[in-house]
Point group: C2
Chain length 226, copies 2
């Protein structure tokens, strides 16, 4: 995406308003702005071709999400993900993904179930061939379908936020050999949902997160966040 032409893309996914916000957000999550780095309103505004006003508004939102810290009259500083935060998020997600899977049993649509099935089938293909990028994308999509199928805007919103938040870690995780294993777990979760077995679905989704976390710990993938 071209920095200077942000204004032209009003018809795109996000309004210009949300644009600046999502752009800065991405840049933080993707590591362009490092931990503790100071974000200056004019500099970022120039880079995105807008004035300070929308940048400031974006900063306020980013602070609320915990991605930056704003010290009054001083500046905005990137709040890097800490190992402790990742651990916490995975444990929180474990509970919430479980709840989500439970609710999905009752509320998932035929279409969503079919898309899940297709997703898993495709992932088997890419896992066998070591296509890491596609695996990450498919994992992303699987969880988003799950979130959307629980029929709770509250939970969906929350889980999508956390999912985004640990994006950096997740990519690394799937780049390791867990992709195939993870996909098998997806399959079991889907089957439990299809059988309308909420206890089983919850337990499996629960464990899925714990497994993902323990895999990261075992492979030492968290060292880069210290």
């Amino acid at each position: 995406m071209d920095n200077q032409d942000l204004k032209q893309e009003v018809t795109d996914k996000y309004s210009l308003r949300g644009r600046v916000f999502h752009r800065i957000r991405e840049d933080i999550l993707n590591g362009k702005y490092k931990d503790h780095e100071e974000l200056k309103e004019v500099a970022i505004g120039q880079e995105l071709g807008v004035s300070r006003t929308p940048v400031r508004e974006a900063f306020r939102q980013l602070e609320l999400e915990g991605l930056i810290q704003i010290i009054p009259n001083r500046g905005a500083y990137v709040t890097g993900i800490k190992v402790k935060d990742i651990e916490d998020i995975y444990m929180i997600r474990s509970k919430l993904e479980g709840l989500c899977a439970r609710w999905a049993c009752e509320n998932i649509t035929k279409e969503q179930l079919e898309e899940m099935e297709e997703n898993i089938y495709l992932a088997e293909f890419h896992a066998a061939r070591g296509h890491m990028e596609q695996m990450a994308e498919l994992d992303n999509r699987f969880h988003n379908i799950l979130y959307e199928s629980c029929n709770s805007k509250m939970l969906e919103h929350l889980l999508k936020d956390y999912h985004q938040y640990v994006w950096r870690v997740r990519q690394k995780t799937l780049s390791s050999s867990r992709g195939a294993v993870s996909n098998v777990e997806h399959k079991f979760i889907m089957e439990a949902i299809r059988e309308n077995n909420p206890d089983k679905a919850e337990e499996l989704a629960n464990q899925h997160m714990i497994n993902a976390y323990e895999n990261m710990v075992d492979k030492g993938l968290l060292s880069m966040f210290e």
Copy 2:
């Protein structure tokens, strides 16, 4: 608080920046601005004695919290709490308060435990005398101690947000006869934490939320959010 003198209170709890945000937030949660009401930047700015700029920044944050919806080039509209949202939040909180109580077993400090004890003791006093306002305040404080004692900024932040969000409902709930029962449940949770029994603490905190929710349903307290 006087509307016109917001600027003078810079030394107070929140900076002026956060002030406007928290003030509008309160006004929504307390029902001053009703569901679907349109919030106009100039009007609110005048009421608070500030210009549109800080108001707009506050709007952005409020939207992220889900308290208002901003339609580009149109306006900001209050998003009232829906019964479904309350149900979802209580179920989500059930899981998370459980996790929080579990973590508290390991991480609570002597001081926090003592404050909990004092809180419960005091609540017995006020419950017996039907002091509803004090009960609400004590309940508020109990949960905040719990959140702070879990040693997870992530979980603490999340639970405090939800706690605030259902403030209106909670007040009504405690105004009914559940205050005393709720306090007994607090006592059991505290004791499980003191005994360092995470499974029991989690289960009790879990059930505490479910009981609170079912009480609301039984008493028909949710009808006012339809």
